[in-house]
């Protein structure tokens, strides 16, 4: 902040300018008045001789007494002369000039005493570098009559000038002193009332800016604007300090809460982990149980199926038609039961992630499909359905689990035959990209959009499925998982009323499917 921008300068400048103007104004007025007074007084004195003569109509007797005249005109009037028409000095305060001719006095100008054109003269002259005032008045002997005399009076103005000068100095001096005094007083006032206090506030604000909230302005006694500022400062810092305290407390609380929360999260995660492990263990136990039970469930079927078959075939003696039929039913029921158990076993292994493929290389897909085609034909023998094959020649051999591939295709083909009443079922196999694409197309009722996902979910049978009876609802989900286990995919394309095609793609080469025994 430059000085010219300071509050002090702004205020003091105007104060002092006005002060100067006022004091000058007053001073000038006073000086003029005084000066005029002096001049008037001198003029009065200087005109006394003329007045005396006038009132006595030019009779010299009125001013004969030099001493009296001197007293009356005062010390400043240095000379009084009365001059007649002849140019003779009839009277003079300076006796040596009496009787002289005007022309003989060097200090007199003859043109002043022009009886032809008498004029009143009142002017300043300089003699010997001293200033004088002269007054020349023509006097007439009668009222309005001819002029017979001139009265000349001279007064030195040096004194009055000096007096005037003195007054002028006084005026100027007092103005200057007042201005200086005002300047100093103003400065003092500003300093103590404004600079100091404002400066204090500024420096304390700086401290607050740097983070020190402990500063307070002490000892605020006044009640003016700056003390208001000071009090506001204090209260602001106080509030800020309180706010900081509150904030830091809140932070602490937050931190505590956070820690508490973290702790809870850790605890909860631990609990969840334990629960998860428990669930997994339980699941695993169930899966193992299921797996082993499934195996156990199959044991009796060895006897049920095979022994019934032996008898039915007459291996243990002749049987009649009815016996054969009955035993065949036992056999087929047993086989059905076996299928159900196998499905449950498969799905439980799949869900437990424990399904293992029996991988072999050089699987001829066409060979795998042959028995399935045969099965298909037997499934539709009593329906007007044709089994069509579209198997490409020279399909490459693939690596995989032969039985599982057969299982998938058998599942798809049985479904196709089950759900189709008339038309055809097409079994296809061809190469596509680096996979073999198998397909089963039927001319059945098709699958609605909503169902296309549901059919692959375990234990979900669509309405159509349920209506067509016997089944676990596990065939398709198992088939899909088996396809995926081979690194492939199983999906369906279908519209209601336009049949359905199930596709299975099996990669020809899959890295993770290396046979365990080569």
């Amino acid at each position: 902040m430059r000085f010219l921008e300071s509050l002090y300068f702004k205020i003091s400048f105007f104060v002092i300018v006005i002060q100067i103007m006022v004091m000058s104004g007053i001073g000038i007025v006073y000086y003029n008045s005084f000066s005029n007074q002096l001049d008037a007084a001198l003029k009065e004195r200087i005109e006394i001789p003329a007045k005396l003569l006038e009132s006595s109509r030019g009779r010299l007797v009125s001013i004969q007494d030099r001493e009296a005249v001197r007293v009356q005109v005062g010390e400043n009037v240095t000379d009084v002369l009365v001059v007649n028409k002849n140019g003779t000095v009839l009277f003079s305060l300076q006796p040596e000039l009496s009787g002289k001719k005007v022309a003989a006095v060097s200090t007199l100008d003859a043109s002043w005493f022009d009886f032809e054109n008498p004029q009143t003269i009142f002017q300043e002259v300089t003699e010997n570098e001293e200033p004088y005032l002269i007054s020349i008045t023509p006097i007439g002997s009668t009222v309005g009559g001819e002029i017979t005399l001139f009265v000349y009076a001279k007064a030195g103005t040096a004194v009055t000038r000096a007096q005037k000068a003195q007054v002028a100095q006084l005026v100027i001096g007092s103005t200057v002193i007042t201005v200086i005094a005002t300047y100093m007083i103003l400065f003092f006032l500003f300093y103590t009332q404004v600079f100091k206090r404002v400066g204090q506030v500024v420096s304390m604000l700086r401290q607050v800016g740097e983070g020190n909230l402990n500063v307070r302005i002490p000892d605020i006694r006044a009640n003016d604007e700056i003390s208001t500022l000071q009090r506001q400062f204090n209260s602001m810092v106080e509030k800020r300090s309180q706010t900081e305290t509150t904030i830091s407390e809140l932070n602490k609380n937050l931190q505590t809460l956070n820690e508490g929360l973290e702790q809870r999260v850790i605890e909860r995660t631990h609990e969840l982990n334990l629960a998860k492990e428990e669930a997994e263990r339980s699941n695993s136990v169930k899966s193992q149980f299921l797996a082993s039970m499934s195996h156990e469930l199959r044991t009796p079927l060895n006897a049920i199926i095979n022994l019934s078959q032996f008898v039915s075939r007459g291996v243990m003696g002749e049987v009649n038609e009815e016996q054969k039929e009955s035993l065949d039913l036992v056999v087929s029921s047993g086989q059905h039961l076996l299928n159900l158990i196998n499905d449950v076993l498969d799905i439980s292994k799949i869900e437990a992630g424990a399904l293992k493929l029996f991988v072999e290389s050089e699987i001829n897909v066409s060979d795998v499909l042959q028995p399935i085609i045969a099965t298909a034909q037997s499934l539709v023998h009593n329906k007007p359905i044709e089994i069509v094959t579209e198997i490409e020649a020279d399909l490459p051999e693939i690596t995989g689990d032969k039985r599982r591939i057969a299982q998938i295709m058998l599942n798809l083909v049985s479904n196709a035959c089950k759900f189709t009443e008339t038309g055809q079922v097409t079994i296809g196999a061809k190469v596509q990209d680096s996979s073999i694409l198998l397909s089963v197309t039927d001319t059945g009722p098709g699958i609605a959009a909503d169902d296309r996902q549901a059919i692959f979910e375990t234990f979900r049978q669509t309405e159509t499925g349920l209506k067509s009876g016997a089944g676990t609802g596990l065939g398709l989900p198992i088939s899909q998982r088996l396809a995926e286990a081979h690194g492939g995919r199983l999906w369906v394309e279908s519209e209601v009323g336009q049949g359905a095609t199930f596709y299975v793609s099996l990669p020809i080469q899959v890295e993770t499917l290396t046979p365990t025994l080569l």
Partner: protein, 129 residues
């Protein structure tokens, strides 16, 4: 294939023994049976005349794998050793261990003949569905 094939069945389940034995006799095979595998260790000589051995995997006292070790040690690779069990998920282990073939129970009587001949001809059969 020579006549009078002699098969040995090692299985503690009498019903299963009966079924397999019947299937084998239908093929004209002579059948010997061991119900308690502990007997085998004491009577290894019964193996001298055997052309094929069927081993159940789940038996008390000695399980099929231990039996397999004994058989392998005695017979080497001369005779096909067939695992015959309801635990079809063991098929990979069975193959890795060195069994020649695997027949899952329940046995498929319609396919047994073909399977048996294949095994006797040295072709491994892995039937576990």
């Amino acid at each position: 294939m020579k006549q009078n094939i002699h098969a040995l069945i090692i299985d503690d389940n009498r019903t299963d023994q009966m079924i397999l034995s019947r299937l084998l006799s239908l093929e004209g095979v002579q059948v010997s049976q061991i119900f308690n595998p502990a007997e085998l260790e004491a009577n290894l000589q019964v193996l001298d005349d055997v052309d094929i051995v069927f081993v159940d995997l789940e038996m008390p006292n000695l399980n099929g794998y231990e039996v397999f070790q004994i058989l392998k040690q005695y017979l080497g690779d001369a005779v096909p050793l067939v695992a015959c069990t309801v635990h079809t998920s063991e098929v990979n282990t069975v193959r890795d261990l060195g069994f020649n073939s695997f027949l899952g129970k329940p046995l498929k009587s319609n396919q047994f003949s073909a399977q048996f001949h294949a095994i006797m001809e040295g072709k491994p059969v892995w039937e576990f569905k």
